[in-house]
Structures are given as C-alpha cells and as structure tokens.
Symmetry: C2
DNA sequence: CTGTTAGCGCTTTCAA
DNA sequence: TTGAAAGCGCTAACAG
C-alpha cells in the first residue's frame, strides 16, 4: 500500500468506536473526546487522525448505547388524538421542527381518537424513556402512570407545581360568542369536542355563560358534542339543523375541522353562511383561511404552545404552570362581518 | 413485617431488572424469561413471585438497554415534507397506528418543505438506528447516505432490487385529465408540486401526454408548479387565472391542499367551479370531501401505502419493488358531474 | 494530552 | 428449571 498508510479492511458490520480508535491508533476515550468535543482536550494532530478514521469507516455513533450511558435518549414524545386533524398536524409539525433544532427527535403517538389507545401510547413512550412527553389528552382526568418522565398535558388543569400549558379557552370562547351576540344573533348553538376533553369543557362553559348573560337562554337547547373531525362536525350540524324545531341563527364550533363539516352540512341543507347562520370556530388553522366562507376563529398560537411545552418538559427544575395563554379572535367572513381582512 | 415477607425499601431511582430479581429472590435471567416469555421456561411459582416484584417495584424495562443488546430499537422513522398537509398527516396517522400494532414506535421528521432539512432529518433518524425508514422525498434523486438501514422512498423509482412503493401516478393522472377531456374541456391547465418531486413529474407527463393525444396543445401554456400547500395552490391559481390572456376551462391539480388554495382564488376572482373552471385534484383526502365544491380526485389508498411501506422496511429479505399501485378516480362535484355520489 | 477501565440495563449462552 | 456471566457500544472518572 502506497505511502505506508494503515491498511484498511472494510468491516461487514457497522463500525464501532473501537474500530475507529484502532484505525487511528488511539484509545476509544480519545475518539469520544473528539466526537463530543470534550470533556478533555485533544492534540490537533491526533484529532486529525481520528477525524480521518471516522471518515473512512463512515462511522455512526450508536444512539442506543449513548442513551443507555447518559440516561437520556434525546427524544420527546407527543401524543395527539389524531394527526390528520389540521390543528394537531400543525402542532406536530411545530414540535418536530423545534425539537429537532434542539437536538431532539420526535416520537409521535397517534391515539386514533381512542382513550384506550391514548393510554397505550403514553405507556409505550414512557417505556422508551423519552426525555419529555407532551400529550393532548382526550380525557378529563388522564391519570396515566407517568413515572418520573417530565410530562405536560396540554390544556389540562393540574396541581400547582406540575408543569402545565393552558390556553385561555374560556376567554377565547367568550370573545367568540360575544362577537356573535354583537352581530345580533339570538339563538347561538354550540358544537363541542368529545365529552371530557379539557379545553372543550371550558369552551362550553364560556358559551353557556355568555349566552346566559345576554338572556339568550333558548340557545342552551342547541348543544351537541362530537369527535374533533370533519365528520364529527358534519353529524353534529345535522343534529342541530335537521329538526323541525327552531333553527339557531349562529353556531360556535369547537374546532376548525368540525366547522368544515358544519359548512358542508349547511350547503347540503341550503343554509347560507353567514346570512342564515353565522359561524365562529376555534383553532384558526389554515382550514379557517381556505374554507368557504373563510372562518372567523379563535386563533391558537401553535408555535408558542409548542415552544412552551418543549421548554416545560425539557428544562429541568420546577415550572410555573403557564396558564391562560391569551387567544385572539380573528375576524373573517363566516360571522357576517363584511370587508374583513383579506383571507390570505 | 407480617407474614415474613421480604422487606421492601423503595428506591430513589427507577427499578432495574436486578432490583426485581433481588426482591423475587431469583436471578436476572429468570426475570428476563418471564418478561419476554422465553427463551427458557419458568416454574409457575417462580413466575408468580417475579410478577409480584415487577408489580411492587413498578418496573419498566429500559428500552435503550434492550435496543443496545438486541441491535433493534423497535422504531421506524417517517420523513415527510410537511405533516400539516392533510395527505401527509393521514399517512403519518396510518403509519403510527399500524407500526404501534406491530410493537414499533414512530419517529417523525418534518422536513419543513426544505431539501436541506429533509437530509438532516434522514441523517438523524439513521443515526438513531431506526429499524426502518420511510421517506416521502422532495428530491428527484435523494441520494442520502442510508447506510444499511432498510429504507423506502415513496414514489421514487429505484434500482431493481431496492424496495420501493410507487403508486400509479401516471395512470391516475391520465384518468383525471381524460375525465376533463370527456367533459369537453379544451384548455386544461396543470398545477404541479415542487420541481423534481418524483410523483409530481409523472403526473405532469400524464397531463402533457393526454393533452397532446387530444390535440389540446394550447393547454400546455398553462402550467405552474408550487409547494404542496394551500398557499402554493393559491399563488399558482393566481398565476394561471390573473393574466389577460385566455383562461383555461379546466385545471388538474397535483394535490388536494393546492386545490383548496385554487378554490379560494377562484372565489375571489369570481370564477365559478365547475361552471367556468372544472377542477380535478390528486390525493382524495378528507379535504376533497369537505371542500366547496367537493373535489373530484384521484384517490391514494393511504392505509395500503402505509402497510406496504412498513412491510417493505420491517420484514427482512429482498423485496420486489412494488410499483404502480392502482389509483381510482373518485367523482365528486368539481369536475362538473352532476348528481355524483353524495359527499359523505 | 492520552490510555485503561468500570459500568449503563438488558439478553442469552452455557453450565449446573 | 435456574444461575453466572459475557458483552452490546458508549462515556468519563481516574491514572499516567
């Protein structure tokens, strides 16, 4: 071999740290030092040799071994009811991106809108020793055995001291319903999320309180709960609009996807939005921007929520529960406002 | 302590297999045997003792240690351009659910519609030794260093022998465009995905060929490519419809989300769909069902694709590249067909 | 500045 | 049927 280089025999298995060390003629400790940039300094010449071996062996550190040693897998878990729901999709995207930038991978568990599956996913992720776990729970009192894994249940009120990220569901929903009242609506229905879904309960309370304050008690008869899905909203809409009784003249919907279902039902029934029925929804995803008509919606600051959740589970030390992140009502067309800000 | 039970001192750290073994008065091997149901049998009485210790210590196996020993992390990776795109969200959901049922977790990497980020995510997942990797790549010739990780690039044509899942983009797109031609449309535009996106190229070719066969060459001037997003479709639509030149009377759109953007643009411009402009899209997600009008679309069998992809990367042995999964054109309203099957 | 070495928690062969 | 023990690949304390 020319130039007296160390002969190199390709391995049939993946290269390990020992292989690199051998090829570079150093100890495995030194290889670690150059890879991790510490904790001990390495002479420039030595570093070069190591770097070259790394290269020629196409070395990849074994994450499992590293995790075992460091007791840290550099991954966070996220459990949502259904990633194909635009809002949860946006949340997953935001968490994935932000986690990646901090060197964490994202383990995603889709609960399939099932409480049971949700618990299984949580158990599975805990078992994988994720460094942090973020869950959007379908359950009011998800009491899964979290062990010592830093966990935050979004939108769930917890004991003081436990980390918690809760948007101002009540305030946001209040703004939504009051906007409808301001439009002069008299019978304002409500399409909520699954029974027990924490945020959804608060939105329900806000609706009821606002309606009562305005002495619109007839509204209270027009209440349906359904899954967070287009189909759920569609079915709920039919339940609310099909009857021969008096139809509501406005509806507050608990999520954008449900609102999409509602809009389709309205088209089928010949109910014009917003003329016959004013609609305000919750989430403010792209679904609200591109629907027909565009949806006036309470907007959730997805990136902020993702950032706070990550911060809560990944930085150690006790955390102030951060509650009542303020929500903004974004006016579009479905409420009846004209000339509202352009959709895009 | 009553009944002569083994005294139990709670630990400050998570219980390990050794703790369980000690409490049960057996070796760690036996604990493994009962946990894994093998490879050696265990006496019923012993098993009981072990089970009880497991219980009282609230033992959780350490996944990292297990992965290190078995050289298998029981996780698959999925990289998509953007999970908040309804189609990719549905794919992620399907992969998550099916993987979970086979005992695998899902590591999700969102590429943020960036080629660079896509490569980083792939590198990161490979580094984590995922047992399989599924990627929907933005790039025509993603040539990332996959090492020995079983990987399948969806919709990418590869060398014979490499696993591959490719839907019949050409056939599906052909059916879409020919349906438009059957409707008597004369100028059929095309809104495609990002340049180089493998499936998108085939859809483009199908459109061009169909249009040429029908001697509708004027159509060829009406071609735009954009990101797979609502916004991308919106911008593309304006590019196609704003000019003072002749407007197309039909458009084939490469994804549902882009079609949503197109529909909004049409509403703003007063272009009626399907009367002034017939539209057929690609994906057939819920977005197509709930839009206004509902979209006639080439439907991708998400669950099948997810299942095949998982199968390809998780079962060992060489794989026949499975190509040209047939696609079905689902008729709704945006093409101009009346009385088409009900939306829901 | 560099090398040696003891584990991290688990699986499984081999011996009893 | 059970136990002892080696070792997966990596980190970092400790010794040189």
């Amino acid at each position: 071999m020319a130039h007296g280089e160390t002969p190199f025999v390709p391995l049939d298995r993946a290269a390990t740290r020992a292989d690199v060390a051998r090829l570079a003629g150093v100890s495995t400790a030194v290889v670690s030092y150059v890879i991790n940039g510490g904790p001990r300094p390495v002479a420039a010449a030595t570093r070069e040799r190591v770097l070259k071996s790394l290269q020629t062996l196409n070395y990849r550190p074994n994450a499992a071994a590293r995790a075992l040693k460091l007791r840290k897998v550099s991954a966070v878990g996220l459990v949502v009811p259904d990633v194909s729901n635009t809002y949860f999709g946006a949340l997953a995207r935001s968490v994935s991106s932000q986690a990646f930038e901090s060197g964490y991978a994202l383990l995603l568990g889709d609960a399939n809108n099932s409480l049971e599956r949700e618990a299984e996913q949580i158990r599975s992720l805990i078992g994988r020793q994720v460094d942090g776990l973020i869950v959007v729970s379908l359950s009011p009192d998800a009491d899964d055995d979290i062990g010592s894994t830093p966990t935050v249940f979004l939108d769930k009120r917890v004991q003081p001291g436990e980390p918690s990220i809760v948007v101002d569901n009540y305030g946001g929903a209040t703004a939504a319903v009051e906007h409808l009242i301001w439009h002069g609506k008299k019978t304002i229905g409500y399409i909520g999320g699954p029974v027990g879904f924490p945020g959804s309960d608060e939105r329900l309370n806000a609706w009821r309180d606002a309606v009562n304050r305005a002495r619109l008690s007839e509204s209270l008869a027009h209440q349906v709960r359904s899954e967070f899905s287009r189909r759920g909203g569609y079915d709920a809409a039919h339940a609310l609009l099909d009857g021969s009784g008096k139809r509501p003249d406005a509806i507050f919907v608990s999520s954008d996807v449900q609102a999409l279902g509602l809009l389709l039902a309205c088209r089928e029934l010949g109910v014009r939005v917003p003329e016959d029925l004013a609609v305000v929804s919750f989430d403010g995803t792209d679904d609200a921007v591109y629907s027909d008509p565009p949806l006036t919606a309470v907007e959730q600051p997805v990136d902020t929520i993702a950032a706070m959740a990550l911060q809560a589970v990944l930085s150690d030390g006790p955390h102030e529960p951060r509650t009542d992140i303020p929500l903004e009502l974004v006016i579009r067309r479905s409420c009846g406002c004209e000339g509202a800000r352009l959709a895009v």
